[in-house]
Point group: C2
Chain length 272, copies 2
């Protein structure tokens, strides 16, 4: 029997724990490392050079901890640093954008819609990077990208099932569907958004505009699992968590993203 | 006639433009420099050592540009780096917290309330620093600090007069007044919040809990003007704007904070 692989998941914060959550049942026998680079977030406003440097130093830490595969569970780092990471690391590196786009393309080809357009909800930084638009265009899809700056703060406030969040989601979706009335596939282009999937589904039903929702977190986890041979094991899941700042917030909010306790979290210093 | 002084205003972003907006009519003859350290924001999650280093490098830049007075229009930097700045700089340095607390103390002493309690709305970082609580305690006031993490994103989304913002403000104020029912003075402990003053006033009226609102931006501007001799001049206001990243967003959103165009903005590199 092959030894269980060590899979590292990296994000600027705890949002990427939604990717780890998807990985756990797909590769139950693996050992997991999770690093949230909380001291240097948000990556969104930083330059490409700086983000690549942050991502490389984070990856070097995870490699030293024994990582045999790296999942970049951060849309900004996937958009701006994936090539550098893949060139620099001797292990497989998977981002969230390509798997998300691939799942969107599969959904669009299944649908009977004449239009090959998808709607991508993301942070302002990810929209500005145009990474989803480029990735979709390479598959013959037209991506309408909608920046939703309030959704991350609402999730971080814990207002997952809250009337205010429902109203904000209704406003964003209404604005987006005015521009992209033909879209039948919705891509969640931020690792915070899977927590809002129920409220998004309800709102789309209220707007009488049902869409197939592609969750980049889930798509990235499936892409990672396709690279790992299936292991049968009775060992309990082994997860080690690292953060570069704000351990308490990481552990407290992270549990909502992971759906289980995030504990203990080790503080690490990766410099500036 | 004295030469017009050069007054520098410093913030991690563009929120501090509300302080500059208050300064312009109070010291009309001055030359103004404004620096938003947008590449390194938010300061809130950083350590005290890092924030002091950021603030000192920002101040050194402004000193080299001719600053003769520095207004630290950033609550986090005022809370964590004011002593270092005052020790290091050969010019007067004014923060936002002391003037805000002083104005709150004046309001509390005017009110007929038996209680000397004030309610401070601020970001999570400022609340965690307990800077307002300490400053209020030194004046015999009890501060109830309420973290309002959604207000900055709502203002940055431009939802100043928006039903969602009204609902969020109602929720935050209701929660805060349950803990501090005697408070009759409300301190706006974040430079983004003056833009929400009308909505706060309406909500307090709806809640049947009128409060005197102390705006730290306005209080800091008055403290600065008290140090400058009155100049009569016919010269137009001279403002120079600097930012360390995201010039376009700085200029676009900054205009809402300043109430006039923020242009041109010069990009400066202060390192990391």
């Amino acid at each position: 029997m092959a030894a269980p692989p060590t899979i590292a998941v990296f994000d600027s914060g705890f949002g990427g724990l939604t990717v780890l959550r998807e990985l756990l049942p797909l590769i139950p026998g693996a050992r997991y490392l999770y690093l949230g680079d909380t001291a240097r977030l948000p990556y969104g406003a930083k330059s490409q050079t700086t983000i690549a440097r942050y991502a490389l130093s984070s990856a070097a830490f995870l490699l030293a901890e024994g990582a045999q595969m790296l999942v970049v569970a951060c849309n900004t780092a996937s958009a701006l640093a994936l090539d550098e990471l893949q060139a620099a690391l001797p292990i497989p590196v998977i981002g969230v954008i390509e798997p998300g786009t691939q799942a969107a393309a599969a959904s669009a080809s299944r649908s009977n819609s004449a239009s090959a357009s998808v709607l991508v909800l993301a942070t302002a930084a990810t929209v500005t990077s145009k990474a989803y638009a480029r990735s979709c265009a390479a598959r013959g899809l037209h991506a309408f990208e909608k920046a939703c700056p309030l959704l991350v703060p609402l999730v971080e406030e814990g207002w997952i099932n809250h009337p205010v969040t429902a109203e904000v989601v209704r406003i964003y979706l209404t604005e987006a569907l005015e521009v992209a009335p033909d879209a039948r596939t919705l891509v969640l282009g931020c690792t915070h958004y899977p927590l809002l999937k129920p409220i998004l589904e309800r709102t789309l039903a209220d707007l009488d505009h049902p869409m197939y929702i592609v969750d980049s977190a889930s798509a990235a986890a499936r892409a990672a699992s396709s690279l790992v041979p299936r292991i049968s094991t009775n060992e309990p899941v082994s997860c080690r968590f690292f953060a570069t700042d704000s351990i308490e917030k990481f552990s407290r909010l992270g549990a909502k993203f992971l759906g289980r306790p995030v504990d203990p979290v080790t503080l690490v210093d990766l410099g500036e």
